[in-house]
């Protein structure tokens, strides 16, 4: 395995941050401290962390309704993200956005999105802007399997392919769009076929294996940076929690959940690092408790932060 210890620690820790962050949000939702909805990313950590880890800081991403993981992976600050989810004034979007709208433009995160497919056009346009401005940046556009049935998915892929835009379209296939399986929603189960219509190169990989994600995304990132155009990657993965708080998960089996949890991206990667003698078990435990403290601090910060002032209602509408 060609990975330096420092890098391995970074990747493992980022995945742990996402997992513990999401577990904490779940707890806050259950206690009604966090209100509204939150679509949790637990189980899919290897996709966001793997893909974003091969980007430059000035590269862009667009995110989804399941956006906490992307935001954390794209250098998001845990306290600000947590505060945003609680709607606090100290949140990354001043409490105006919430879980569904985490964005951090200073880190190249062009935003989560409450609308399925809502960010595909934005990613395409950011790719166009890169081309027009003549920079070496690129865009990774995250979206779910469900979004591939939206018109804008097809419109965007066509436009990006025609104009050879530097966008990596990254589909997180967690087998379901809310309660409807890919099998029941899509005429093709192999989603890479959808890129064929636009002559866009595509690949299907194991999204639970962070090294596989890194390897493949790096390949298509290089391709885009070389001016060769867009690509489409499908990462197979699984969301551990229900779609949202009220989801009774009647559409999937406990066996299926067990199967995927048996391929947990954090445990898999940790094991590999121990096997290859890059990290010791003790070190991994140490990382876990480090992250635990970070999440506790972020939570404390968020809970103690004030709500926005009433005047904020009309602020930031126009420049």
């Amino acid at each position: 395995m060609e990975i330096k210890k420092e890098e391995a620690v970074f990747l493992l820790k980022k995945m742990m941050q996402i997992r513990q962050f999401e577990d904490k949000i779940w707890e806050l939702l259950s206690k009604n401290i966090a209100q509204g909805g939150s679509h949790l990313y637990a189980g899919e950590e290897a996709v966001a962390v793997g893909a974003i880890s091969v980007l430059n800081p000035d590269d862009y991403i667009t995110s989804t309704h399941r956006g906490h993981g992307h935001a954390i992976a794209k250098a998001g600050k845990l306290p600000e993200l947590m505060a945003e989810i609680l709607g606090k004034a100290t949140g990354v979007c001043k409490g105006k956005g919430g879980s569904l709208h985490l964005a951090d433009l200073s880190q190249g995160n062009l935003g989560a999105n409450g609308v399925v497919g809502g960010s595909l056009g934005i990613a395409t346009g950011a790719g166009l802007s890169i081309k027009l401005r003549g920079t070496k940046q690129l865009v990774v556009c995250f979206f779910g399997d469900g979004a591939t049935n939206q018109g804008i998915f097809h419109e965007s892929l066509n436009m990006a392919a025609k104009w050879s835009l530097p966008v990596v379209y990254l589909c997180e296939n967690n087998l379901y769009g809310m309660s409807v399986s890919v099998k029941r929603a899509s005429a093709v189960e192999d989603l890479t076929k959808k890129a064929l219509a636009y002559d866009m190169p595509s690949e299907n990989i194991d999204g639970m294996d962070i090294l596989a994600v890194r390897k493949t995304v790096r390949k298509w990132v290089d391709f885009a940076r070389d001016g060769k155009g867009p690509s489409f990657i499908v990462c197979d993965s699984y969301r551990y929690y229900g779609h949202s708080r009220s989801d009774a998960k009647v559409y999937r089996t406990r066996e299926e959940e067990k199967f995927w949890k048996g391929r947990d991206p954090i445990i898999l990667f940790g094991k590999k690092l121990i096997e290859e003698n890059i990290l010791q078990e003790e070190e991994i435990k140490g990382l876990e408790s480090e992250v635990f403290d970070e999440i506790e601090q972020a939570t404390k910060f968020a809970m103690e932060s004030p709500l926005p002032k009433p005047e904020a209602l009309y602020e930031d509408l126009y420049v």
């Binding site: 209100q35 709607g87 956005g97 409450g114 029941r184 559409y251």
Partner: protein
């Protein structure tokens, strides 16, 4: 009389109409085994099967377009758009196709289509899941816009809407699904296009619909204790507007306030207020008032969200102002 929730009332309407007419079917995202995002279609797929209770892909434009095509060719579809916030994706289908085909084709087709959706504020879900977009649709001749507030009206109006040969946008409210109210066991219908006086009074007329009805009722209770008598009209249908009922009330109270959850500018109140001007100007003793939502995208923060829509206090204040108290 028995009391059931708004959710249950809608569910009963769907079941009864699907049993009554086999051309009626339901299609939308997660309407099958999941039972709909707000649980309205629970149990339907078990009763009617996958052919008539169809889970679709996340493809709003095709959901509406396909609903229209089916309606023009002999079926009576009920299609669901999970949140009205997503309706922009299929706006072209609604505005240019659903609402216009009958007129454009010289009356040679009918569109017995119900578009069920849900809107409104109250769950701190932020800007993409909290909007009140009804005013967009009252600007489209060719569809009807129905917005029930009570379980009784929800059931009666959904049944009538399904039997109507015109396309109907049926907008439920996310904060009303758990609300209980009296609903008879025996069959009844509520006509589309008729408002109802939900509370009689003499001092001022509050014209409202959907969730805001309950805010108005609470405000009226409190005002009554202070000796102020308020009449409340629940529009129930926004298009066509039952201006007659409004005018009759204004003739009696001589004052009108429109209470609406949507953004004030270009909102439903603008149209209603103007129609009152056109039809009852001589009976007005004071300028018409609006108590409406703030002209901003819905913020996430719970405190800002509350500020962004009318409160009971806002209504009370407006009533006192219009009465000069």
């Amino acid at each position: 009389m028995r009391e059931i929730t708004y959710r249950q009332a809608l569910n009963e309407a769907l079941v009864e109409e699907m049993e009554r007419d086999e051309r009626v079917f339901l299609m939308g995202e997660d309407v099958g085994p999941y039972g709909g995002a707000y649980g309205v279609s629970k149990g339907l797929i078990e009763k009617f099967g996958e052919e008539r209770v169809r889970d679709t892909a996340i493809s709003e434009a095709a959901i509406i377009g396909a609903g229209l095509g089916a309606a023009m060719t002999g079926m009576r579809p009920i299609v669901e758009i999970m949140y009205i916030d997503f309706i922009g994706i299929c706006m072209g289908q609604i505005n240019n196709q659903v609402a216009k085909v009958r007129y454009m084709f010289g009356g040679k087709t009918k569109v017995p289509l119900v578009i069920r959706t849900e809107g409104g504020t109250g769950r701190t879900l932020g800007a993409h899941h909290s909007q009140s977009l009804e005013s967009w649709f009252i600007h489209i001749p060719g569809i009807k816009v129905v917005m029930p507030a009570t379980p009784y009206d929800a059931k009666g109006l959904l049944k009538t809407s399904i039997r109507d040969d015109n396309p109907i946008l049926f907008i439920e409210h996310k904060m009303l699904y758990n609300r209980k109210g009296e609903v008879p066991e025996s069959e009844y219908l509520v006509p589309v296009g008729e408002a109802e006086v939900k509370r009689e009074g003499s001092g001022v007329t509050l014209i409202t619909y959907s969730q805001m009805l309950f805010y108005c009722l609470e405000a009226a209770e409190e005002l009554e204790k202070q000796g102020i008598s308020v009449e409340i009209i629940d529009l129930r249908t926004l298009l066509p507007l039952d201006i007659q009922t409004i005018v009759e009330s204004v003739k009696k109270t001589n004052r009108a306030i429109i209470v609406e959850e949507d953004c004030k500018t270009g909102g439903t109140g603008a149209e209603i207020g103007m129609q009152i001007m056109e039809n009852a100007f001589d009976h007005l003793d004071a300028p018409i008032k609006r108590v409406a939502g703030a002209d901003v995208p819905m913020p996430k923060s719970p405190n800002l969200e509350k500020l962004a829509i009318p409160s009971k206090e806002d209504i009370i204040k407006a009533v006192k102002e219009i009465l000069g108290k």
